[in-house]
Amino acid sequence: MKVWVQIIILAFILNFCQCKKVIQVNLNDTAPQLVIIGEVTSNPGPYTVTLSGTVNFSADNVFPPVSGAFITIKDSTKGLTDTLTEVTAGHYTTHILSGIPGDAYLLTVEVSGKIYSALSVMPQPVSLDSVTFIENGAFGTNLINPVVNFQDPAGIPNYYEFTETVNSRPINNIFIFDDRLSDGKYIRQPLFNDSAYIQTGNELVIGMYGIDENVFNYFNELQNATGNGFQTLAPANPSTNISNGALGYFSAHTVDDREVIAY
């Protein structure tokens, strides 16, 4: 709903918008920060943890991998610990672990003398019923957007993340949904997408993840900070489930993928 209100305000403002230009802003430099992205999914492993660093705004989008870390993921429910191996610089993979809904996973990363940890519990799976399409003409051009259809289980909080690939190209939008206002409903949620125009006949892969509350909060705050094209009032770094000041997140989530042709 918030998104809808913002869309109409944005549409209104764009009516008046006289110009848009790229400007130079002198931004402060900052010491590199550690970014940890880790996942355990309900699909078979191996699972990957990626370590990289931040760069200054003016630098190229080349993010230095962080090598030489000692990383473990422990299935706390089963008491099973997997030590990850660095396969390429900054990319670490598991060996024996498998993602099981309901299990709690503990990530521990030891690098440059500091220890970071994160806990994520894989929710029970919710299956994606179908993917349909709607045409949306709010901005004077007709946009095709996929709609995810699924039954939200009643009585428990559920958090969802969606991924979209168009003709093998991943769309880097954040698509999230929670059932705070929709508990137990049959959900038909369009995935609005501002960075790709979908054409009839495109091959799409839609992924539906069941994520835990902390990871949802992370993506929700990330989405707020990016502001849907608005200048956010006070953007901030999203609060993460990783301890000790690292950026990024660690998510144990279920996966349900669907391949569809846009119509």
Binding site: I13, S52, I134, A138, S182, I187, N224, Q231, N237
Partner: protein, 775 residues
């Protein structure tokens, strides 16, 4: 502490003044415009023989002067009117209505020395600015739509929230800390079309008074300012019809006597037609979009007898926005005020008001998958009693009370059964906001004037409903259910108000003030644009009243026989219980919205310079403000002070109006301010292929400086007794400055290896033309 002592001392010493016994009589009455019968607010009345003492008319044009028996020359004056000198023999109480004629343009060039124009020097109140519709009519504005709120932002200490935003910040306060009153009724959202226009149709407005500090005790409820807007009463002599046709809106107003000289009415209506241009579009998506607002002001008054007069005034405005049939947003205010003026005696004036105020919005979403209607409302019912006792020429006592019942309905979600969302009704929030006040205006000849008072407010948080307690993480720790009318929490606050002026000599004075204000309704806003669906919440068991203490000092001087007035004011303000919210806060449709909040403090200080030329061919002013506003919250910026968004170091406004002959009036305004404090990224990283920005501190950066020149020319058509008309040509943003509306950061679409900053601007140069008529 010192201020407190002075305060008690003054209460103590003032009683003898009230009790002095000598044969004294009172002259009282109402001051009106000779041609229209419109009451004149703030007209000066002095007795030449006792020139240091005098009075001004109150908001209903009523005055009362008491003096020892004798013969006096009474001089009545009002800006833009010819002063009137009336010989009176005060050997009994007299009721004396006064009518003043407007000055011709030529006459304004002649200095009328008898006129008491140095009111700005002698009155004790400071931080007060008054604008009349007459004064602002030649000042250029966006799309040529005269706008009192926009013009007000050209005064020092009052800052615009930026292009496309009628929000404003007074002395470092937030946009929700301004009490905006239209004929005493609170207007919760003073903007149309998401902030591009204010809700006030200048045809319907008589005058506007802004208190930036040192507000008298009869006002309360917001931290940083009071904007008191009075609607026209209507012409009680003749019928008249007027209007204007502009590029994006048209206006029509009618006024006339109900019974000649006994009562009058005034009705003004306005509608924009930006959407008619959309209709012209061949694009079926675009031409189904809706985008307009309309508003209606109506007022009537009737004199029952010499001692009683009733007023009924109302406002209704609505904005309608829609994207095809898929999405709709409509919102608006409705207010109604019924007032009864009663003159108990020559010296005791009473006004009783019943006020209704409502603000609501509805969002409708219709798509294949969702049919949802979301509505929210604020509703106030008010009973207010204000009494003014004109004890004698040196003493005036104001006292009264107000009882406000607030109903806040934060959200009703009505969703069809096939929607993805559940229907939901958030519990209504009920509260009583009650106040009693007394203040004393005291003149100690020859040098001192005081205005001091006390306001006691009681805010009762009322049931029914569940009231929650939260731990620091925002988890509910306790839920208590209260029944209807049960008091959940009461906040009692004493608000002292104190202002003093010391006349240094005939042309200059020093003033000081101390004011405490308390605010019990708070706006939670999470976007930079004015979002009509932002949430108002009342103080509660979790949210404490906001409190501000402001001290100010000023020096005032008039030059060249009051042709120029100059003022310099400094202020320091401390704000407690300021509200911010946690990262990623869920503010909408959330029963536990109070768990998402952070509480902190603020401080604001500044220096305001103002020089105004009141008469001559060229009139206008220059205002400059140097200021700082900072906030402090646990959990933001490591708990240290950071600049508030509205912290603009330098703020300049220049307004010039030039009377070029009888037909043409030329005007120009220029504004400059330091950019708002904003949060920009200091680094970046990658999450799942997307570039994410890394932030190091809140509001550590600045938007580019804002500046703009607006020009206008008004051509007065032939003026006959029956008909007059004028054309106004204006150019907004004359040198086409592309001021930053927003700056966002993104991946370079042309070079995946780079990121870039993109600046959006709203308005380039915008010419407009308006035709106004009156007959």
């Amino acid at each position: 502490m010192l201020l407190k002592r002075i305060f008690y001392f003054l209460i103590f010493v003032s009683f003898p003044f009230l009790l002095s016994a000598q044969t004294k009589f009172t002259v009282s009455g109402t001051v009106r415009d000779k041609k229209t019968g419109e009451s004149l607010i703030g007209a000066n009345i002095i007795m030449q023989e006792r020139s240091r003492t005098g009075g001004t008319t109150n908001s209903y044009g009523f005055y009362s002067l008491t003096a020892p028996s004798g013969d006096y020359k009474m001089i009545v004056s009002f800006s833009g009117y010819q002063p009137d000198t009336i010989q009176i023999s005060l050997n009994k109480n007299i009721v004396l209505p006064v009518e003043l004629s407007t000055q011709d343009i030529q006459l304004t060039e002649v200095e009328v020395t008898a006129q008491k124009k140095d009111d700005n020097i002698s009155r004790p109140l400071m931080g007060v600015q008054k604008l009349t519709t007459k004064e602002i009519k030649n000042i250029p504005v966006l799309f040529g739509e005269k706008d009192v709120l926009k013009t007000m932002q050209l005064l020092p200490g009052i800052k615009s929230a930026g292009d496309g935003n009628s929000g404003f910040y007074v002395r470092g306060g937030a946009a929700d800390q301004n009490l905006i009153l239209l004929d005493e009724a609170t207007v919760y959202n003073a903007t149309h079309l998401l902030g591009f226009f204010s809700t006030f149709n200048s045809d319907a407005i008589k005058d506007i008074t802004v208190y930036k500090g040192g507000m008298p005790a009869e006002y309360g409820g917001r931290l940083s300012s009071v904007v008191d807007i009075k609607m026209n009463d209507g012409n009680s002599k003749d019928f008249g019809l007027g209007g204007g046709i502009g590029l994006i809106s048209s206006r029509l107003n009618a006024e006339g006597p109900i019974v000649k000289d006994e009562g009058s009415f005034s009705i003004s209506a306005r509608r924009t037609y930006a959407d008619l241009f959309l209709k012209l579009s061949k694009d079926t998506n675009l031409n189904q979009n809706k985008l307009y607002f309309y508003d209606l002001n109506a007022k009537a008054n009737y004199k029952i007898d010499d001692k009683n007069r009733v007023f009924l005034s109302g406002y209704f405005g609505r904005d309608v926005l829609g994207l095809g049939n898929n999405f709709g947003l409509d919102y608006g205010n409705a207010t109604g005020t019924l007032r009864w003026n009663h003159v108990f005696s020559d010296r005791l004036f009473s006004n009783t008001s019943f006020i209704y105020s409502n603000y609501n919005y509805t969002i409708t979403i219709n798509s294949d998958s969702n049919n949802i209607k979301i509505s929210s409302e604020i509703r106030d019912l008010v009973l207010k009693e204000d009494l003014q006792y004109f004890a004698n020429a040196d003493n005036k006592i104001n006292f009264g009370f107000s009882i406000i019942h607030h109903t806040l309905s934060p959200g009703i979600v009505a969703a069809s059964s096939n929607s993805s969302f559940n229907s939901q009704t958030l519990q209504n929030k009920y509260s009583f906001e009650n106040a009693i006040y007394i203040s004393h205006e005291l003149t100690v000849p020859e040098k001192w004037k005081f205005n001091y008072g006390l306001r006691l407010t009681a805010f009762n948080v009322l049931g029914p409903g569940n009231f929650y307690s939260y731990d620091t993480a925002g988890n509910t720790t306790d839920t208590v259910n209260y029944s209807t009318g049960q008091i959940v929490k009461t906040y009692l606050n004493l608000e002292p108000r104190f202002s003093v002026s010391y006349q240094l000599n005939d042309v200059s004075s020093l003033k000081g003030s101390y004011t405490r204000n308390v605010q019990n309704l708070h706006l939670l806003s999470n976007s930079t644009s004015s979002d009509p669906t932002d949430l108002w919440i009342p103080s509660s068991n979790n949210v404490k009243p906001e409190i501000a203490d402001q001290e100010a000092l000023g020096y005032y001087r008039n030059f060249k026989d009051n042709q120029y007035e100059f003022s310099s004011e400094v202020y320091y303000k401390i704000m407690q219980n300021q509200i911010d919210y946690k990262n990623g806060a869920q503010l909408r449709a959330n029963e536990n919205v109070e768990s998402q909040l952070l509480f902190g403090r603020g401080r604001a200080y500044g220096w305001e310079l103002f020089i105004k030329k009141n008469s001559g061919k060229l009139t206008g002013w220059i205002g400059y403000t140097l200021s700082r506003t900072e906030l402090k919250f646990n959990g933001i910026n490591n708990g240290s002070y950071f600049p508030a968004r509205q912290d603009e170091t330098h703020d300049v406004s220049v307004v010039g109006i030039y009377q070029a002959g009888k037909k043409w009036t030329l005007s120009a305004t220029w504004v400059y301010n330091t950019g708002n404090a904003v949060t920009f990224p200091s680094g970046k990283y990658e999450v799942n292929g997307e570039i994410i920005f890394y932030y190091t501190e809140r509001n550590g950066y600045r938007m580019p400086a804002y500046h703009r020149l607006d020009l206008a020319a008004t051509l007065q058509g032939k003026k006959t007794k029956k008909f007059e008309s004028s054309w106004t040509f204006s150019v907004y943003n004359a040198y086409d400055r592309h001021n930053a509306y927003s700056i966002t950061f993104q991946q370079d679409p042309n070079d995946a290896a780079k990121t870039q900053a993109v600046q959006y601007s709203l308005f380039g140069i915008i010419p407009s033309i308006t035709y106004n008529f009156k007959f």
